[in-house]
């Protein structure tokens, strides 16, 4: 069992757990993920590592309530524990001094971008960060990203905070501003990563995305997470999760994320019914 040492509700529906997992903390690197299983009847879900502390032996995860499992996870309190916490899985993000890197964070992806932006900053890069959410009340970790960014632009879909609009607009402006941009890291919902990749494609700036297909074991055993990159089938769990956004077959990824949409709805409805009282 892996104990939850700290719980923080970042915004409605998005929660942070700091979990005691010393072995994972000792090896974790930016861009990697863990597979979490709540209890005996739970499914295995991949969650990206948002932070870790080798000395204290803790690993931080941030997750959004999107279905029965994440809703169940959100009921856990400090002192509770999850049955399984496996990792660190996946290939760590490539960290080098590229020059100037634009980090684009969307929604819960903010928590995934943060450690990568920090590592890139520590490697000597200049970091421009674009942080997008639907509205002000869903915005979190602005301060965290600000602390590792040379420049931070916040967008909200409804204009309730920062710039009104979506992240691709400031991204396009930065690319066209005459600034030399050496790399883009875009992490968030599939549609956001897809349009960021389309935005950067004409300039040819290397654009790294972190893919989140459905997984089971997370170690290359099942092939559930297969994605098509540059015409080749890859397993996101062992070949990724980071890939070249210009080569990803986005429509396939989006379609494969919908495989269990009926079952997910059924499970979520059941769960809500049983928790209505």
């Amino acid at each position: 069992m892996y104990k939850i040492l700290l719980r923080e509700d970042l915004v409605p529906g998005i929660h942070l757990f700091k979990v005691a997992a010393p072995a994972v903390a000792a090896k974790a690197r930016a861009g990697q993920f863990v597979v979490v299983r709540i209890d005996e009847k739970g499914e295995r879900i991949p969650l990206t590592i948002a932070d870790w502390d080798k000395d204290k032996g803790t690993v931080t995860i941030v997750f959004m309530e999107v279905g029965a499992t994440t809703a169940r996870l959100a009921l856990l309190k400090e002192g509770d524990a999850v049955a399984d916490f496996v990792g660190p899985l996946g290939v760590p993000a490539e960290i080098e001094n590229y020059g100037t890197v634009v980090c684009v964070a969307g929604g819960v992806g903010t928590a995934v971008v943060a450690p990568i932006a920090r590592a890139l900053k520590n490697a000597g890069n200049r970091i421009f960060t674009i942080l997008g959410t639907r509205s002000k009340d869903l915005l979190f970790w602005e301060d965290v990203l600000k602390s590792v960014s040379d420049r931070l632009i916040v967008t909200t879909d409804d204009g309730s905070y920062g710039r009104k609009g979506v992240v691709t607009e400031p991204l396009k402006e930065l690319l066209e501003s005459g600034e030399k941009i050496d790399r883009v890291v875009a992490i968030g919902p599939v549609v956001m990563m897809k349009f960021c990749s389309l935005t950067t494609a004409p300039s040819g700036v290397k654009t790294i995305v972190s893919l989140n297909p459905i997984m089971v074991d997370g170690t290359g055993m099942c092939g559930c997470c297969r994605v098509s990159v540059g015409g080749e089938t890859k397993f996101a769990c062992v070949d990724g999760p980071d890939f070249d956004g210009h080569k990803v077959d986005w429509d396939l990824l989006a379609a494969r994320q919908r495989i269990y949409i009926e079952e997910e709805k059924c499970a979520y409805d059941e769960w809500r019914k049983s928790h209505a009282a």
């Binding site: 009847k41 099942c222 092939g223």
Partner: protein, 466 residues
């Protein structure tokens, strides 16, 4: 000499119609009377050919004699001194090509049903000697040496059990959340109940073996770090976990599973109990399973039990070349699985929602024998036809996961990704590292993996006692 009794005692089984709708075990096991009757047929040959046919060298005539005499505790003791996993082996070993094939009575087409008797002894112990599993057997004198075993499948469990009995401190590192490897995620409940696997894992633990779950070696500690951190030797038994695909058009359509994924969802994650268990699995009305091995049969029979109307086995050669056990093919046929032989997929067809709708296949014919000795299947030109399906399970075999070989210095691998190890000892070219099971041979059987684990344990023990 008494007259030979050539009437093998049949194994009682669930009715095919009923069992196609449940996950309960198909074979029901002998009663004590049936076991005694079958044991009574053994002629106790001087030359023990059956033992030489067993990769873990169980003293077969001795435990059979004990059954005959009704001394079940003795039968248990004899069996378990060589085989820590008899309940598993009695169910999934291909006895027909091992101990039973070398039985003297095999010449008369009536070998002793050694597998069924082995299963009977293991089940008898579980039901009648519950304390045997909770009270640890007498501990050997500790050697003071530590061995790490990577993977808790049949090879790892066997190596760990033997090493512990030799007095070494053994820790198993398992990547998944339960121990057992393919015995838990691969082989279905109706062929190998998970309760039995866990009882035998518990027995191995009772020998003093520590089991660390959720431990992905190569991602957590690497093999080199394990060796540097107080372990004197390592046994690698990580199996062949990477699924192979056909690499044809349409293979990433929704509704196309690797057998590993389908079986993991159903067996390990218990998707057949969704939504009581959280993990879902899709079950089509018309399911095609590609392949002709045991894993293909398991997948097809799971799909049937989950409610598919039509389940097809699509296999490119003929029935004679099928690698699956005869018994499993017959079970599948009895349950109504439809065999499309000499058929091979060309591509998969899908709809606008990216769901698979059909398998376009070639008819095949058999040509000259290939390197496997089986006649090579050749495409019949212009023979394409479409089988309507809404689910496909690809069961073409597996390769070793590169996770460990790619994070370890000095381990030699073949072009198939298997680890090079001495056939007799399991020793790899890397100092203090042994390997055995599917990671060395590619996909094979539970018992051959156990045999490799046993040989490696012996070699490791010799090394540690130097």
């Amino acid at each position: 000499m008494a007259k030979l009794n050539l009437n093998r005692v049949e194994m009682p089984r669930q009715d095919p119609k009923a069992r196609g709708k449940n996950f309960n075990e198909v074979a029901l096991g002998y009663s004590l009377e049936q076991a005694k009757e079958e044991a009574g047929r053994c002629i106790q040959c001087k030359k023990r050919n059956c033992v030489t046919g067993c990769p873990v060298e169980v003293d077969i005539p001795d435990f059979i004699q004990a059954i005959r005499e009704g001394d079940m505790p003795a039968a248990v003791r004899i069996l378990k001194s060589k085989n820590a996993l008899p309940g598993i082996c009695g169910r999934v070993c291909p006895q027909e090509s091992q101990c039973e094939s070398t039985c003297t009575l095999a010449k008369k087409d009536a070998p002793i049903a050694i597998g069924r008797l082995e299963r009977f002894v293991a089940d008898w112990e579980r039901n009648n000697m519950p304390k045997a599993n909770s009270a640890p057997p007498a501990k050997p004198r500790p050697s003071g040496k530590k061995v790490a075993v990577v993977g808790s499948g049949p090879a790892g469990l066997t190596a760990a059990a033997d090493l512990a009995r030799m007095g070494h401190g053994v820790t198993i590192f398992e990547a998944l959340h339960v121990a057992g490897g393919v015995l838990m995620y691969g082989i279905p409940e109706f062929r190998l109940p998970k309760e039995i696997v866990q009882a035998e894992v518990k027995f191995v633990a009772s020998l003093g073996v520590k089991i660390e779950l959720d431990s992905v070696v190569g991602k957590l500690a690497t093999l080199d770090e394990i060796l540097a951190n107080g372990y004197d030797a390592v046994f690698l038994g990580t199996g062949a976990g990477l699924p192979m695909f056909l690499n044809i058009d349409g293979e990433n359509l929704n509704g196309i599973y690797s057998a590993n994924e389908f079986l993991t969802r159903v067996n390990l994650m218990k998707a057949y109990k969704f939504p009581e268990y959280d993990t879902p699995v899709k079950v089509g009305k018309k399911v095609a399973v590609i392949g002709g091995g045991n894993v293909a049969m398991d997948s097809a029979r799971c799909a049937l039990r989950l409610g598919a109307d039509d389940v097809y086995i699509i296999y490119r050669r003929s029935e004679a070349e099928m690698p699956a056990r005869r018994e499993e093919v017959e079970n599948a046929q009895e349950e109504g699985i439809q065999f499309k032989l000499l058929t091979n997929p060309k591509r998969f067809l899908g709809n606008e929602q990216n769901w698979v709708t059909g398998a376009e296949c070639y008819e095949m014919e058999l040509g000259e024998p290939d390197e496997s000795g089986r006649r090579r299947p050749v495409v019949k030109k212009g023979s394409e036809f479409v089988i309507d399906v809404d689910e496909v399970i690809v069961a073409l075999g597996t390769r070793p996961n590169p996770l460990i070989s790619s994070t370890t210095v000095g381990l030699e691998t073949t072009k198939y990704g298997t680890v090079v190890a001495d056939e007799e000892t399991g020793k790899t070219v890397k100092d203090r590292v042994w390997a055995g099971g599917d990671i060395v041979t590619g996909s094979a059987t539970v018992i051959s993996a156990m045999g490799a684990g046993k040989k490696a344990a012996k070699s490791i023990d010799e090394y540690l006692r130097g």
